[in-house]
Symmetry: C2
Subunit: 307 residues, 2 copies
Amino acid sequence: MTTYVVGHQNPDTDSICAAIAYANLKQQLGAKAEAIRAGKINAETEFILDKFEVQAPKLVTELAKGDEVILVDHNEKSQAIAGIKEAEVKEIIDHHRIGDIETGNPIYFRNEPVGSTATVVTKLYQENGVEINEQMAGLLLSAILSDTVIFRSPTCTKADKEIANRLAKQLGVDIQKYGKNMFKAGSVVNQLEPKELITNDYKEYELAGETIGVGQIEIMDVNEVNDIKEDLLVGIEELVAERGYKFLVLIVTDILAEGSLLLFPADAKEIIADAFDVDTKGTEVYLDGVLSRKKQVIPVLSDYLTT
Amino acid sequence: MTTYVVGHQNPDTDSICAAIAYANLKQQLGAKAEAIRAGKINAETEFILDKFEVQAPKLVTELAKGDEVILVDHNEKSQAIAGIKEAEVKEIIDHHRIGDIETGNPIYFRNEPVGSTATVVTKLYQENGVEINEQMAGLLLSAILSDTVIFRSPTCTKADKEIANRLAKQLGVDIQKYGKNMFKAGSVVNQLEPKELITNDYKEYELAGETIGVGQIEIMDVNEVNDIKEDLLVGIEELVAERGYKFLVLIVTDILAEGSLLLFPADAKEIIADAFDVDTKGTEVYLDGVLSRKKQVIPVLSDYLTT
């Protein structure tokens, strides 16, 4: 009987890559194991699978009674693939809080407080003395970088960094460069049209009797919008006209650099320059250290416009 | 803050030894950890602690709010030390089914389907590159032998055997000999008076209008009763007289050898010899392969006496 290896619903890169790599380890140890997925592959994961030429796991929408399954990257029923209650959980490899999965028999349960499941899976290859091939090394490295936001997440540990560095060395990959490319591939910038991007996380404010619109996108590298900046500005102008705004600001937040590029219509230039006390390049300005719309952008605009 | 390391309520050897050895590992890794126990030390564990000159963990009857605790050898609230709901579970090292402990944060949870928690703890020393001193090696070996009944339990795995053999080699200990001594020290034979032993697991039967009594004790080595055999026979004669039995049989079952020594009054000699079709030495007979009172002793006596 084949044992399925599966991540959580709405799988992210760690869930998909850990499932594939752990199924591979089990196979190399002589077990019949197959990675499956409980949902759609996201753009970031697709980029990774393409790059390392690994097929996406088979989509399984519901487990059948008696199916044997290894859970990776989750250990709560509510997050698990449909039919989990009918299946037999054989192992769990995870890095989250301990949830509500119970078993009738003793099983292998390996949960570690590290940044990604892939870190635990890599340790298991090592502990079992199984060599990690380039494809699996690529998936494991990618999953660590994804879940730790290239080591920047507060959940990232020394173990994540050491293991990622070792995998990167094996592959001859530059972690910062590859990580940024990976996040770029998965970025919302590549998924949405300009107007959708502007209004994806969007709020209107009434200030001094007029309406302004403020959208925000959070990305790994503000340069991701370079190619579409003109289109974004066109979208901003159109929305201002359509909706009768005083102006509209799009906050493009660079999570890694911890700052934001503001994009706005040309005729809002003086307001922005005066309000934030900065020089602008006409339709944009980069504000170092500004990350929060609510705490760092709206109060400044409100102060300027209402006093 | 010191983190407690604790086994289950009514601790057995694995719970005590795994707690001590894992606390020692944590200390060597630089953490503040202390083994505690949730209940009385049993005779077997006492023998082990004496032999390897290790102090028993402090008895703690209830955890206080905010205590930090590492659970070993269990992962179910119902088996845990009182006050567990008020404490913060920091880690779990176990070898049982996955139970109902949930945590708010990700923790280290290492559960393996092996014969003892001590096996997992020994692996953790190795994975962390920490040398196991003689005292800890003694406790870990003892716990593996105890929980696996010297490798005879169906829960025993290759990993348990390999690790126990390595520890025994380090200590220069003969596993079979030491294991038997250890079980002997913990045997019910050393805990109870002869008459208590006879009637500890005891049943009366009405056969052909007369009453017989049949007691059973299960021990690791039938030779454990050699020194008290005379006292047991005196007790048997007394009980027969007091209770007006036709006779009384004490079944001393040797779990390792998988056979039973029957002890009985001299005047039951012919009945036993005829019923089981064996020669007897007057007041005893060893029956190879006989383990069950219900299935292998009572039917034979019943057949003989009622037909």
